[in-house]
């Protein structure tokens, strides 16, 4: 693993999140029936941050939930080590809500597919939208992001890491090359 380029630093990441928050409010015409659900692990922290951004703009705290998709993956046996199952924490009803699903990187689309299946088991939202910090291409499923912090064309042998203070000690987005 070799770090190739730093595409976003702390300030740029925060500006991206603030812009996404504005776009979410614009598209949904405010915070009515709006909720955010982050995909574990980093998506959960990003959803919290987006909530804070939305609160700064509209002075409303929208509900935030956390989704663990381990049990919905289609590639469990492809993962080398045993996957760790964490809790899903959605303590509000998502039926008839506009749900914004939040994740760090959109790549093949399989994580989002699993998240959609999981969400539908919790209720029938009015709509589900997708917000990601980075869209790196290489989709294997017909899935797209409604809000993207940055589109970064990448090669298959590269990977994009969104690092957050909560999980990694600092905020940045980097491209790394797999050795």
């Amino acid at each position: 693993m070799q770090e190739k380029a730093r595409v976003l630093d702390k300030d740029a990441l925060n500006r991206s999140l603030m812009r996404i928050a504005h776009e979410i409010l614009e598209k949904n015409k405010g915070t009515k029936d709006l909720c955010l659900i982050g995909i574990r692990n980093r998506g959960a922290h990003l959803a919290q941050r987006l909530r804070d951004c939305i609160e700064k703009i509209d002075q409303v705290k929208v509900p935030v939930g956390i989704l663990d998709i381990t049990l919905y993956r289609d590639d469990l046996t492809l993962i080398a080590a045993g996957p760790v199952v964490h809790k899903t924490e959605i303590d509000f009803d998502i039926s008839d809500k506009n749900v914004v699903l939040v994740d760090d990187v959109l790549y093949t689309g399989r994580t989002v597919r699993a998240a959609l299946d999981a969400l539908i088991d919790f209720g029938r939202p009015k709509s589900i939208q997708l917000a990601v910090v980075v869209d790196r291409g290489h989709r294997e499923l017909p899935i797209r992001a409604d809000y993207a912090g940055k589109n970064i064309p990448t090669a298959q042998n590269e990977s994009v890491e969104v690092r957050l203070e909560e999980t990694d000690g600092k905020d940045e987005v980097v491209i790394v090359e797999k050795g």
């Binding site: 760790v84 964490h86 924490e89 919790f122």
Partner: protein, 316 residues
């Protein structure tokens, strides 16, 4: 920590970390049962066979519910109505189940070591749902899960197990698990129901129920198993209740927040009074709820490990 065992046969062979992994995975699974749609697709396409050589309702139903909440298909074989009556051996039955392309056998058998023997002869996963007087790992895991949920820890807790220790796989599995996690275990029963060598497992022994309750954070009350051949050696049932029965009077003298557990089914008025079984110290029904989460965790982990194992063999 990664789970690598294709089977769960007992608590004795597990490390502290393995036990903790089962418990933390179970915590996540507990939430699934609170959803409106109580089902996740984690074991979709897998087949779980319940193979029970002894009558059981709660363990069988608990495993069945657990498997179904993971989207597995479940088949139940009660040996009283199967080819076992025609003399088929356990291993032959196991191989036939394997030929059906099932993925997990949940087995209960009256012989100690039956689950382990079966596991050696089949490639599918085997989960021990109780073998003779040996072990009943998922019962101990759900007891420990409940204890941890209530106290937030296991280390330093004092747990007393009261009842027929000699013939109890629940007691053995609990002693292994609790001592590995740093709890102190005391067993309490009439002399004749204490098996030799129990102290080597790490438990202290008393014949005095008041002593067993005095410092206990939890008392696990075992069912008096009158259907097994203990009657001859056993004092009268009433006499037992008088000397060892868990009554409100005895609970009143114990720690205020003592937990009362029982693996069920309870014999009211024999090992426990109705007042205690239904009282606010009792977590007997919570144990049943937690049993599902723990068994989901176990089924999920062994299925994952076996998939990994097969994948590994395919590439070699």
């Amino acid at each position: 920590m990664t789970w690598t065992r294709k089977d769960l046969l007992g608590i004795e062979e597990l490390s502290r970390e393995e036990i903790e992994l089962i418990l933390s995975t179970a915590e996540s699974f507990k939430e699934v049962s609170t959803r409106e749609i109580k089902k996740v697709p984690a074991l979709r396409g897998k087949t779980v066979v319940n193979l029970f050589y002894e009558p059981s309702t709660r363990t069988r139903v608990s495993f069945e519910v657990a498997a179904k909440r993971l989207s597995a298909d479940v088949i139940h074989i009660a040996t009283e109505t199967s080819s076992v009556r025609k003399g088929e051996t356990l291993i032959d039955t196991g191989r036939n189940i394997e030929a059906l392309k099932a993925d997990i056998i949940v087995v209960r058998h009256n012989c100690s070591g039956a689950a382990a023997m079966l596991a050696r002869h089949v490639n599918l996963s085997v989960v021990n749902a109780g073998d003779g007087w040996h072990e009943h790992p998922t019962q101990a895991l759900l007891d420990i899960f409940t204890l941890k949920e209530k106290f937030g820890r296991i280390t330093g807790l004092q747990v007393s197990i009261v009842g027929d220790i000699a013939h109890s796989r629940v007691a053995r599995s609990n002693i292994w698990g609790l001592t590995k996690l740093g709890a102190k275990v005391m067993v309490c029963a009439p002399e004749i129901l204490i098996p030799p060598g129990i102290e080597e497992m790490g438990a202290s022994v008393t014949h005095d129920i008041d002593e067993a309750l005095r410092h206990a954070d939890c008392v696990n009350v075992l069912r008096m198993q009158f259907e097994r051949d203990t009657e001859a050696a056993f004092p009268q049932q009433l006499e037992y209740f008088k000397q060892f029965g868990i009554t409100q009077d005895r609970i009143r003298k114990a720690k205020k927040n003592i937990l009362v557990m029982h693996p069920g089914p309870i014999n009211r008025g024999i090992e426990i009074s109705s007042e205690v079984a239904d009282g606010h110290n009792s977590v007997i029904l919570e144990q049943v709820t937690n049993g599902i989460a723990v068994r989901m965790s176990v089924l999920f982990l062994v299925a994952q490990a076996n998939d990994q194992l097969e994948k590994h063999e395919d590439t070699h």
